[in-house]
């Protein structure tokens, strides 16, 4: 579980996060949604420690990240898996080396054990026979799956995903979403996904947090998001033609 209390973050004179308070539950896919520039990625980067908030506290389980010394933060980061928007695979390494990277850095396993674990997670993300290929030689969707494999190879307690299906076709995007949700349940981890994709919200949003201009304006489940009268939610959800039409049908049918 991750708890966020009154987090503020500014860049220069511009305040990006204006007092965010929420909780991300263990064993659930928690989604942070909002329009571009709403502060989603900044909040994510505060959660993983790449940005330091000026005010507020972020708790991992019961421990505030602000109270941890460098060594404790380093230990915590070993328990974090991260899926970046572009995959962030290391160009100079092949797929096997990329996925094996956290094991090489943080464990003392034998190479054969590490290779076995790499094959296991690659199989889990439906990728086989790609071990010796380089990131540039595989598709964007495959890169995302390799990135998920790298994120989970060291059995993390927390998984963060920054726009996991951006730039992917709808079918592959659904596949990635489903994979993230399955892994969350299977490993019983706390997953936080930043997205602005309403399909993701519908498919995997077990908890949804909506940000607008750096403020948290609504939170609930993906079932509740279609029932609420909150104006910020409706203007975000029904901004696409598809969802507008669904809304019209819903209203007609009462």
């Amino acid at each position: 579980m991750i708890k966020v209390e009154d987090v503020h973050k500014s860049f220069g004179d511009e305040e990006i996060l204006k007092g965010i308070t929420t909780k991300f539950d263990k064993g659930k896919t928690n989604l942070i949604i909002g329009q571009s520039g709403s502060g989603k990625t900044v909040l994510l980067k505060c959660l993983i420690g790449l940005f330091k908030p000026e005010q507020g506290r972020i708790y991992y389980e019961e421990n505030a990240i602000q109270d941890m010394d460098d060594e404790q933060q380093r230990k915590l980061r070993e328990e974090i898996g991260m899926l970046f928007q572009g995959g962030a695979l290391f160009d100079s390494m092949n797929i096997e080396e990329n996925v094996m990277f956290p094991l090489r850095m943080f464990t003392k396993q034998k190479k054969s054990d590490m290779v076995a674990r790499v094959n296991e997670v690659l199989k889990r993300v439906n990728l086989e026979n790609v071990n010796k290929k380089f990131p540039a030689e595989i598709s964007g969707g495959m890169q995302k799956r390799v990135s998920i494999a790298r994120a989970i190879v060291n059995k993390p307690k927390f998984l963060f995903c920054d726009e996991p299906n951006s730039g992917l076709d709808p079918k592959t995007a659904t596949l990635i979403d489903t994979l993230i949700q399955e892994i969350t349940h299977e490993y019983d981890i706390t997953t936080v996904v930043v997205t602005h994709d309403m399909n993701s919200v519908m498919e995997i949003g077990e908890k949804v947090v909506l940000l607008k201009h750096g403020k948290l304006v609504w939170q609930g489940t993906n079932q509740e998001i279609f029932k609420t009268d909150n104006e910020d939610v409706t203007s975000f959800v029904y901004s696409s033609d598809l969802f507008k039409k669904i809304r019209e049908v819903q209203l007609k049918e009462g």
């Binding site: 993983i48 420690g49 933060q73 915590l76 970046f84 850095m105």
Partner: protein, 245 residues
Amino acid sequence: MKYLQDIGSYFLMLKKVFGSFTKRSVLKHLIFKEIDDLIIGSLGIVAFISFFVGGVVAIQTALNMDNPIIPESLIGFATRQSVILEFAPTFISIIMAGKVGSFITSSIGSMRVTEQIDALEVMGINSLNYLVFPKIVALMFYPFVIILSMFLGILGGWVAAVYGGFSSSAAFIEGVQQDFIPYQLFYAFFKTCVFAFILATVPSWQGFYMKGGALEVGKASTNSFVWTSVLIIASNYIITQLLLS
């Protein structure tokens, strides 16, 4: 003001490079890879340039000797002095600022743009130690490149002088051995080590702290070459003033 900030950030980077070390087995692998990329990969161009510039120095010296009192051995002497004191350590380092420096900046800059450095940080890895320290260690082998350059520069001078008909082999070799001061070798290698450190760290700083996209990677590579060259030339002047004057 920005220059002061940049200088401060460069020294802070150096502090972080030597803090929180990466796992030894991983570091060893990275160092070998950097030696291959930065040192072995540069030998060809260094050898080519050194041989021919050594030849040109010998020919230029010979063509400017129109007084019959000046002995032929001066060609070998001038070639040795030019190659050992300036050409090999300084001129080759400027070339390396273009080859190795822009490679370092663009590779680290690309990692910044594609969030690979963020990925390292999220995993709790000291990305500066992981990326920059192996380059510093690899460039500690840079003096061997300069030894090769010195040897091939003088060899090129000998080939040009002897086969160009400017000097006899014996006279050239006599000139190479004439008035040899070992301290000058110390001076040459001392400044080579300083240049090696500049070559490893300034381009790394340019790449690591760049902001933006692919276009900015290109700009950072250009800046890297400019600033590495400026620092090499400036430190060359200071070291020469301190050690030789």
